[in-house]
């Protein structure tokens, strides 16, 4: 089941803001709650599986580095070095939990609502066409780059470059391609903006959304209100303390 774009946006943004207010324990609870929501959604599970290894590696290095080196105020560099430093582990836990909240909120946002509907929803509310396009283009960018990469790889392969094999062979083949690929893409951006202009982008005429706008269901409005209230409550507690 897909959520209304507004509900999805409110939940994701509130979770990210909340993570800035909470301590390590609070962030852990929030991350676990978001994870529970993600695990019940099949498309979110696919995305989680895709990120799991990279995320695990990043968190491992955060713990490793902070448990070995944790500079306290006023201590020398040598004084910061240790083995399984408690304060370092505590800091790594806080950072990792916050990172998980950030990642999980974004996965939640992209998998709980259709990004295209969200962009159209934003455009309907006069957030500006450009903002909507930048948002949609950012989502499509990876796909566009993948297509270009495939074309460049095939061209290189036809010239005799070895692009298949173990990770080392593939990395060695792709490294010289990546920079020209990104630069050629940036160079193409002027042509793409010409193409968009020819389609009337930026004209003064009103924009017609293709999808019929579904009103935000009542129960989702209630959820959104609850999430916002929760965030405001945390903010008030933080200020009062």
């Amino acid at each position: 089941m897909r959520l209304h774009p507004a509900t999805s946006l409110v939940i994701a943004v509130s979770a990210i803001c909340e993570s800035l207010l909470l301590d390590a324990q609070g962030n852990t609870v929030l991350a676990l709650t978001l994870l529970a929501f993600l695990l019940v959604r099949p498309n979110a599970r696919i995305m989680l599986r895709r990120f799991a290894v990279h995320l695990g590696a990043v968190i491992f290095f955060i713990f490793l580095l902070n448990s070995l080196i944790y500079p306290e105020s006023g201590s020398s560099l040598m004084g910061s070095v240790g083995f399984l430093r408690k304060d370092g582990i505590q800091f790594a836990w806080h950072i990792s939990a916050r990172l998980l909240v950030l990642i999980f909120s974004q996965i939640f946002f992209f998998t709980s609502a259709d990004p295209h509907l969200l962009a159209e929803w934003a455009m309907r509310r006069d957030f500006g066409q450009s903002l909507g396009y930048v948002f949609l283009f950012a989502i499509s960018l990876l796909q566009l780059l993948r297509h270009k990469l495939e074309a460049v790889t095939q061209a290189q392969q036809s010239r005799g470059l070895k692009v298949e094999g173990n990770v080392f062979v593939r990395t060695r083949a792709f490294l010289p391609i990546i920079a020209p690929l990104v630069f050629s893409y940036l160079k193409e951006s002027i042509n793409r903006s010409i193409g968009l202009s020819l389609k009337g982008f930026g004209s003064k005429s009103s924009y017609t959304p293709l999808a019929v706008e579904e009103p935000q269901p009542l129960h989702e409005k209630f959820i959104a209100m609850l999430v916002i209230s929760g965030f405001l409550f945390s903010l008030a507690l933080k200020v009062l303390r």
Binding site: H116, L144, S197, K199, G200, S203, T208
Partner: protein
């Protein structure tokens, strides 16, 4: 109502940082219900003219320098009139892949994007998109991703985006490249129908064969008009062969035969039938001489 839709009077353009003009002193006009073919080798200025007619040149290449007058739909081509130009012209660029917005998930949505920006109603958008996809025989691609199409299909998608507006003026940069022979014939039929409805058409082409059936032809060489007039007049001009314009084989054959027979050849038969009759006469002549 004024029938003239395009008027160019001594129009010249040079890109910023370039001393040479990409287009130099072009003068031509185009009325509603007429089709103009612009031919020329690479660097002749065809794409520049295509961009100028769609208003892109004046909007995106502001460091460039324009002289003379170019008007489309009664208004001067100027960045201030860009919205008007976009509304009345449909443009196909040389590279159709760059005309894909990259933000739409399906071919249907990609074609509809043009109409969405024009503020047309949702039901009309749906019917117009369906009609144009059916006319180009790509309705089966309707729900496919625009990024997963072949070169020819991408070209048809870009064409659909230009045609769906039902513009007053259609400017197409090499529309027949990447299309198969059936696709070329189908597109020619669509364009013929488009012009017969009182609309204007400008086609930039590398292959002069494709402009034989149009009303007028403008031959460009390094931005300068080499010849302008009816297809018979322009394609029959021997300077086109001498400068490597790649005219149809039968015209080139007639040129070679005439060149052998007489030294000062200035004009050639351009139609296939005419050339065939001419070559038959030559054969008869040689047979008689042998006898």
């Amino acid at each position: 109502m004024n029938d003239l839709i395009v008027t160019a009077e001594n129009f010249s353009f040079s890109y910023g940082g370039c001393k040479d003009f990409a287009l130099q002193s072009l003068s031509f006009s185009l009325s509603r219900g007429e089709a103009l073919g612009v031919i020329g080798p690479s660097k002749a200025g065809k794409t520049t003219l295509c961009l100028a007619l769609s208003g892109i040149l004046q909007r995106f290449f502001k460091s460039g320098h324009a002289e003379g007058r170019l008007s489309v739909g009664g208004l001067e081509v100027h960045p201030q009139n860009f919205d008007h130009l976009v509304a009345i012209t449909g443009t196909l660029l040389e590279s159709p892949f760059l005309q894909i917005s990259g933000i739409k998930l399906t071919v249907f949505e990609e074609v509809a994007l043009t109409l969405q920006h024009m503020g047309i109603g949702r039901s009309e958008i749906a019917s117009r998109v369906e009609n144009v996809l059916a006319a180009l025989k790509i309705e089966h691609l309707s729900q496919r991703s625009p990024l997963e199409l072949s070169g020819g299909e991408t070209k048809k998608l870009a064409l659909a985006s230009a045609l769906v507006k039902d513009p007053e003026l259609l400017v197409l940069d090499q529309p027949f490249s990447q299309l198969d022979p059936i696709g070329v014939q189908r597109l020619k039929t669509i364009l013929k129908r488009f012009v017969s409805r009182g609309k204007a058409l400008v086609i930039m082409e590398n292959e002069p064969e494709h402009v034989l059936a149009l009303d007028r032809v403008l031959a460009l060489e390094t931005g300068i008009t080499l010849a302008y007039g009816s297809p018979d007049k322009v394609l029959g001009d021997t300077r086109l062969i001498e400068r490597g314009f790649g005219v149809p084989l039968w015209i080139e054959l007639a040129y070679l035969v005439k060149l052998r027979a007489q030294k000062n050849v200035t004009h050639l038969p351009t139609r296939y039938g005419e050339s065939l009759a001419f070559l038959r006469d030559v054969r008869k002549f040689w047979r008689r001489r042998k006898e």
